[in-house]
């Protein structure tokens, strides 16, 4: 059963379309991440789900209620903001208790719930403090506590970790994951950080300029992208795209010096057509396969592995993973890849399967 249905939602500010016919189905208990570069409309969509942003057309259904025209307070969702959005004049306890107070819960039950949530998030010693006396990580825990305390139908997270430093981000990310596993509530999470998306999500919705590029599980987006945008956006370092021409009656691609066998494709491409050959950096370090020679420019050593930046004879720049050695500037190395690991896109960036 779908817990949240977004059906053909559109919104524009004047002539600028921020959301263009967006439809997403979110199953009960799942963790969905809205992923995209800044300005892609992901936060607008989240605010629309929360009822903070009116939409121009389409419907939003939470549970079995059409909430499209309901104000935020009647939608029974909880939201965690990037800026934490704690009430600055209230103590931590009052912040967490606020949603309960708005629902007219009696003081004793409310206090018990606040303490229970504070225990869960390990912020019990902070209950008497004011938000400004807390660190960023503690503030975000309080904000999460405020969302948790009233057991809503839907949790919304709007880039909750973006204001935190790297170490805390990793820690809280794991904590959110653990939280989701233990309470099994539907969560919709907005981020521009693909690591957060890949680690947290059951399902990722990739947005670009107000349109959905692809919806899928983290692995399917990585392995089987629908277009060059998703292929480039998911995965670090990003996928390399090489210019290529179809030859040999559609069975081979010529990309610079390399000839790539594409007879595994279901589509027969006509000879002479220009396409893009996508190869991920981690797939350029094979023992055998098609070879490319790379003039090394920079090598980034990450300990367990290295990333080599360099230039092909065709003049295209490429990033390749290198697990065995660390070539230096000026060396020319041979990269090997398997044709089956490549992804082919047409000139418009659409995937050719």
């Amino acid at each position: 059963m779908a817990n949240l249905s977004i059906r053909s939602v559109s919104k524009s500010y004047g002539a600028v379309s921020v959301l263009d016919d967006v439809s997403v189905e979110v199953e009960e208990g799942s963790f969905v991440v809205l992923l995209g570069p800044s300005g892609c409309g992901k936060s607008t969509l989240l605010h629309a789900i929360a009822g903070l942003n009116p939409i121009d057309s389409g419907t939003i259904v939470i549970g079995d209620r059409n909430v499209t025209n309901l104000p935020a307070r009647e939608r029974d969702v909880a939201m965690v903001f990037q800026s934490y959005a704690l009430y600055p004049t209230m103590s931590v306890a009052e912040n967490i208790a606020f949603p309960l107070k708005m629902r007219g819960l009696d003081r004793k039950t409310s206090d018990e719930k606040v303490v229970a949530v504070a225990k869960l998030l390990q912020i019990e010693p902070l209950l008497g403090r004011k938000p400004r006396e807390l660190s960023g990580g503690q503030r975000q825990r309080v904000a999460i506590g405020r969302a948790l305390v009233r057991d809503p139908r839907l949790f919304l997270f709007d880039e909750p970790l973006s204001n935190l430093d790297a170490a805390l981000r990793t820690e809280l990310r794991a904590e959110i994951k653990r939280l989701h596993q233990s309470i099994r509530r539907t969560m919709v999470y907005v981020t521009h950080d693909q690591t957060e998306a890949l680690t947290l999500a059951d399902k990722i919705v990739v947005l670009k300029a107000g349109r959905i590029e692809q919806i899928g599980t983290p692995l399917s987006l990585y392995d089987d992208p629908d277009n060059a945008f998703v292929a480039g956006f998911i995965g670090t370092p990003r996928m390399n795209f090489l210019r290529a021409t179809v030859a040999d009656g559609g069975k081979t691609l010529h990309a610079g010096e390399a000839s790539v066998d594409i007879s595994h494709l279901a589509t027969r491409l006509e000879a002479g057509r220009n396409v893009m050959l996508g190869i991920r950096p981690e797939h350029l370090d094979e023992k055998q396969g098609v070879t490319l020679s790379l003039a090394v420019d920079v090598t980034e050593r990450l300990g367990s592995t290295s990333y080599v930046h360099g230039m092909l004879p065709s003049g295209e720049t490429v990033v390749a993973e290198r697990r065995e050695d660390q070539p230096r500037f000026g060396e020319t190395i041979t990269l090997r890849f398997l044709p089956a690991r490549t992804r082919i896109f047409d000139a418009q960036g659409m995937r050719i399967r």
């Binding site: 104000p71 307070r73 939201m79 959005a85 704690l86 600055p88 209230m90 949603p99 904000a143 009233r150």
Partner: protein
């Protein structure tokens, strides 16, 4: 402050502090000294030390007591009404509309106008025979009112002019505070189930409290010192019904030439003001570091 002695900027601020301190202490002492005599320009050269007589006279002077009460009444009403009205207008204006910039510019007009012009304008508006106020009342089918000629009404007529002139000031300051306040907590409250009035009451107003307190303090101090509107519109009349303590001090000094008594009034007004404002301050800012 161990570093203060070695801080070279002290050569700039220390002389200024010394000058200001000497000037204010000397003037205050001089004023207190005169208030302990019976200096009057009617009997120049024959003043003598009278101790606390002027102060005792003040508390036995029904005209002074009435003026003190009027000052309290005027200050309280002006501050409360201006803050409440200003806040209401700000909350009402807190949305984007086409003429926002124009409205904001128009709000500045009453503040920029000199009190003389404001006072005269309102005197014309309140003129019982030819004024706009009575004309509007007649349109509404109500009986005519002698706005500035009735001892029961005159103080409130001046109050209306003061509110007209200074509410925009409250609006501007609170508006600025509102615009610098974060909006996410308001949205968080809406998601948390608050109605719009609850968002304003539980989240927005507490965030604006500091700005409101400062505006209230400024308006209270200004209202206690108000002189210009009274001078232009009523000159304390009719039948002393708009004579505030500040105005009574002026009369004592420059109409009755009773300099010592006028200065005693001024000192009492100063003490009274300070006590009232410090009380107000400690109520509005209960703990140090409250933000």
């Amino acid at each position: 402050m161990a570093t203060a002695a070695s801080d070279p900027t002290r050569h700039f601020f220390q002389p200024i502090i010394v000058c200001l301190t000497v000037a204010s202490v000397a003037l205050t002492l001089f004023v207190i000294w005169i208030s302990l005599h019976d200096l009057s320009l009617m009997r120049a050269g024959r003043e003598k030390f009278v101790g606390l007589d002027n102060y005792l006279r003040f508390f036995g002077d029904p005209r002074a007591m009435a003026a003190l009460w009027r000052t309290v009444l005027f200050t309280t009403l002006a501050t409360v009404v201006e803050i409440a009205l200003g806040l209401a207008v700000v909350l009402f204006l807190d949305r984007d509309f086409a003429m926002k910039r124009l409205v904001r510019t128009l709000l500045l007009v009453p503040i920029i106008m000199t009190p003389v012009v404001v006072g005269l304008t309102w005197r014309f508006l309140f003129d019982p025979a030819t004024g706009m106020a009575n004309y509007l009342l007649s349109l509404a089918g109500l009986s005519q009112v002698d706005w500035l000629g009735s001892p029961q009404l005159a103080l409130y007529s001046v109050l209306i002019a003061d509110i007209w002139q200074w509410t925009p000031f409250v609006i501007l300051l609170v508006m600025a505070a509102l615009e610098s306040a974060p909006t996410d907590p308001l949205n968080a409250a809406r998601v948390d189930g608050a109605r719009e009035w609850q968002v304003a009451w539980y989240v927005l107003l507490p965030m604006l409290r500091r700005a409101l307190a400062i505006v209230a303090l400024i308006r209270a101090i200004d209202s206690i010192k108000a002189f210009d509107l009274f001078y232009i519109m009523t000159r304390g009349g009719p039948a002393l019904s708009t004579e505030t303590l500040n105005y009574y001090g002026y009369i004592a000094a420059f109409t009755n030439f009773d300099i010592s008594y006028a200065l005693a009034i001024a000192i009492i007004l100063t003490i009274f003001t300070n006590v009232a404002l410090l009380t107000m301050y400690s109520v509005l800012f209960p703990k140090s570091g409250e933000r």
